[in-house]
Symmetry: C2
C-alpha cells in the first residue's frame, strides 16, 4: 500500500489544532466524544471514507451517545504519529495499518501483511479464530492501546512497469518504487529500490527517473493515472497479499467504556472487514475494466521463474524480521504454522474452485 | 449445504409451543423481545452457534433493550416454515439460507449460491456494492420481509465417493446424494441423484445404497464420519462455491424499530459475514488436517474434463432457472454481468496470488 511518504508529503502543511475538549453539556447528557486520527487524507476513497462511515455507524448504534470525530492525516497529528497519539491519549482512537509501527516492533508487520503471506480470508481466519488477535493484543498492551482488525484491501497488484520484464536479469538495476518488506525482496534481486511521496511518483515515472512503481490495486491506481506513463501492469502482488487495517483504542479510554459501547465499537469495526474489503473488490473489478478497455493497459503476469525467486527472497526477508526478538519469533512461528494449514485448505477450496471455473469462464 | 431433508427429519418430532408474548414489565422498560427462528438444529456448529452469538451481540449493543431468543429448527416452527413464520409475523426474525425459498421464486437461489457462481468475496462484493441487496430487498418486499446478508461457508467440497472417478462415464448411473441445482447438474451427466435426510446418509453409504454424498466442507463433514465408509474426498465443490446465509426481519417489525436498533441489527449481521466465514475457514483447515493425517482420507480432484462438463451443465441449469420469470431474469442478468467482471479481478488478484504462492509453498 505504501502511503507512508505520500501521506507525509500531503500532511506536511498544517497540523491543525483540533477541539480536544469535551463540552460540559455533552457530559451531562452522558455523551462521549472521541477523536479518531487516521493515516490517510480526509475522505481518501475506500480508506478515508471507510473511517467516516465507521464513525457514523457507531454514532447511530449508540443513539448519539458515542460521537466519533474523524481527523485526516495531519489534521490533529501527523499521520505517522497516530499510534503515539492514541498511546499517549492525545486521541482516543486511530484508523490505520499495523505495519506502519514496525519501528516499535517488527511483529507489527504480521498483523497487516508480509510478502507471500496470507490472503485476506486466511488473515481473517488467523486473526479471529487462531492466535492472531491474542498475540496482537498482547503486543499492543505494552503501549496502552487495544487493537481491532479492520478491513483488508485484498491482493494488491504487482505494479506499473515502463518496460516488459522478460527475465530475472531485468530486475538488476531496475529503479523501482516499493517501500517496506516487498522493497527488501526486490533489493535482494538486484533492484535499486526507491521511496517517493505519492505526489512525486507520476512525474518521476514520466521523466524516467524511476522504471516503475507499485501502489495498491486497480481501484486506487486508476485515479493516479499511472497508465499514462507506464503501460505494463503486472500481477500478482506477492508483496502485499492482504494488507489488513486496524482500529486502535486507548486502553484507559477502552476500559472506561460501558460493555454496550465496547461491543458497539468491536462489532462495527468487524463489519468493516466485510464492507470495505467488498468495496475494494467491487471497485477494482470496475476499474480494471476501465484500465483495460478504455486506457489500453497491457496486463502481464510475472513468470514462474520470477515468482519462485520472489518467494525465496520473501521467505528470507520475513524470516529475518521474524527472528529479531523473542516476541516477534512467537508471532512469526504462529504465522508460519497457520499459513501452512490455511494454504492447504485454500488449495482445495478457493484456489481449487477458481482454477476449475477459469477452465471454462474466460474473463 | 443441503440440510433440507436432514433438518426436516430432525425436526419431525416436536414443534414446541414457545412463549410468543411480550411481558408487561418488558414493555414498560422499553424492551423489545424478538423471536429468531432458524433452519438448523439449536447450537449446530458454525450456523447454530452463529445465531446464538448474533443474538447475544445485539443484546449487548442495545444495552439489553433488544432481546432476541433463538429457536432451533422445529422448536417454534418447522425449519422450512421459517420464511413464512417471519412473513406472517409468527416470528420477528429468521436465520437461514435464501435458496431454501426457491419454491416461492427461483430468484432466491442467486442470493445464496448457484453452481459455478461467485466465491464468497465476489458474492459479498455483488451484494454490498453491486445490485445484489437492492434486487433481493425488492423480492423480499413482496413477502413483507427485509433481508440482510449473513456469512458464507466458503467453497464447499465436491463430496465423498466410495470409488475413484476415472472418467465422465463413471457418473452414468452413479447413485449420488446432492440436492438442489447441483443435483440437477449431476442428473444431466447421467447420475441417479437422490435426497436423503442427514441421519440416513451414513448407513446408506455403508450399505452401498448410495455411491457417494456431498455435505458442506471439512469442518462440518468430519463430525458426520463419512470418511469411515467413503475414502475418496473430491474437490472442488463446483455446486456451491459460496453458500451465503441470511437474516430476515418482518417488515412491520423492522419499520417499528428505532434507527438505533435498526443499525445495531444491520451492523451485527454484517459482522457475522466476517466472523462466521472466518470460522468455517479456520476450522476447515484444522479438520482437513485431521481427515488427511489421522483418518487416511484420500483427496482427489475432479479432472479438467469433468470440471468442463460440470460447467457446461451448470450454465444450462442456471440459465433455465434464470429465465423462469421476468424478475428472476433481471437477477440472473445482474449475476452474469457481475460474475464476468469480478472473475476478471479474481483472476489477477486472489487466484493469481494463490497460484503464484503454490508454485513454492506446498501444503
Amino acid at each position: 500500500m505504501k502511503r507512508r511518504k505520500f501521506l507525509k508529503g500531503a500532511a506536511a502543511g498544517g497540523v491543525a489544532a483540533a477541539a480536544a475538549t469535551v463540552s460540559a453539556p455533552a457530559i451531562s447528557q452522558g455523551i462521549k466524544q472521541l477523536k479518531m486520527v487516521t493515516t490517510w487524507p480526509a475522505k481518501f476513497p475506500g480508506l478515508g471514507t471507510g473511517a467516516e462511515r465507521l464513525a457514523q455507524r457507531i454514532g447511530t448504534m449508540s443513539g448519539g451517545k458515542l460521537q466519533i470525530k474523524v481527523y485526516g492525516g495531519g489534521e490533529l497529528v501527523p499521520p505517522f504519529q497516530s499510534f503515539d497519539a492514541v498511546s499517549q491519549g492525545k486521541a482516543e482512537m486511530s484508523h490505520s495499518v499495523s505495519y506502519y509501527w514496525q519501528g516499535k516492533s517488527p511483529a507489527f508487520n504480521f498483523f497487516a501483511a508480509v510478502p507471500y503471506g496470507f490472503t485476506a480470508d486466511e488473515h481473517y481466519a488467523w486473526m479471529l479464530w487462531g492466535d492472531g488477535t491474542k498475540l496482537w493484543t498482547e503486543l499492543c498492551d505494552q503501549f496502552g492501546v487495544v487493537p481491532f482488525m479492520r478491513a483488508s484491501t485484498g491482493v494488491q497488484m504487482g505494479g506499473w512497469y515502463r518496460k516488459e520484464m522478460t527475465s530475472l536479469d531485468d530486475f538488476k538495476g531496475l529503479k523501482f518504487r516499493m517501500p517496506g518488506l516487498g522493497g527488501e525482496v526486490l533489493r535482494k534481486l538486484g533492484a535499486t529500490v526507491v521511496n517517493l511521496p505519492g505526489g512525486e511518483i507520476f512525474p518521476a515515472l514520466q521523466a524516467g527517473t524511476i522504471d516503475g512503481t507499485e501502489w495498491v490495486g486497480p481501484f486506487n491506481d486508476l485515479a493516479f493515472g499511472f497508465y499514462k506513463v507506464a503501460k505494463f501492469y503486472y500481477w500478482p502482488g506477492f508483496h502485499e497479499p492482504n494488507t489488513t487495517g486496524e482500529v486502535l483504542v486507548n486502553k484507559k479510554v477502552w476500559n472506561g467504556l460501558s460493555k454496550e459501547h465496547q461491543e458497539i465499537i468491536r462489532v462495527a469495526v468487524q463489519a468493516e472487514s466485510t464492507l470495505e474489503f467488498a468495496e475494494f473488490n467491487y471497485k477494482s473489478a470496475d476499474a480494471l475494466d476501465v484500465l483495460l478497455n478504455k486506457h489500453g493497459v497491457q496486463l502481464r503476469n510475472f513468470s514462474d521463474d520470477m515468482l519462485r525467486a520472489f518467494y525465496k527472497a520473501s521467505e528470507e526477508v520475513v524470516a529475518e524480521v521474524g527472528n529479531k526478538d523473542p516476541f516477534t519469533k512467537k508471532v512469526y512461528e504462529s504465522f508460519i504454522s497457520a499459513r501452512k494449514k490455511l494454504a492447504g485448505w485454500s488449495a482445495l477450496g478457493e484456489q481449487g474452485y477458481l482454477n476449475a471455473r477459469s477452465l471454462s469462464l474466460k474473463p
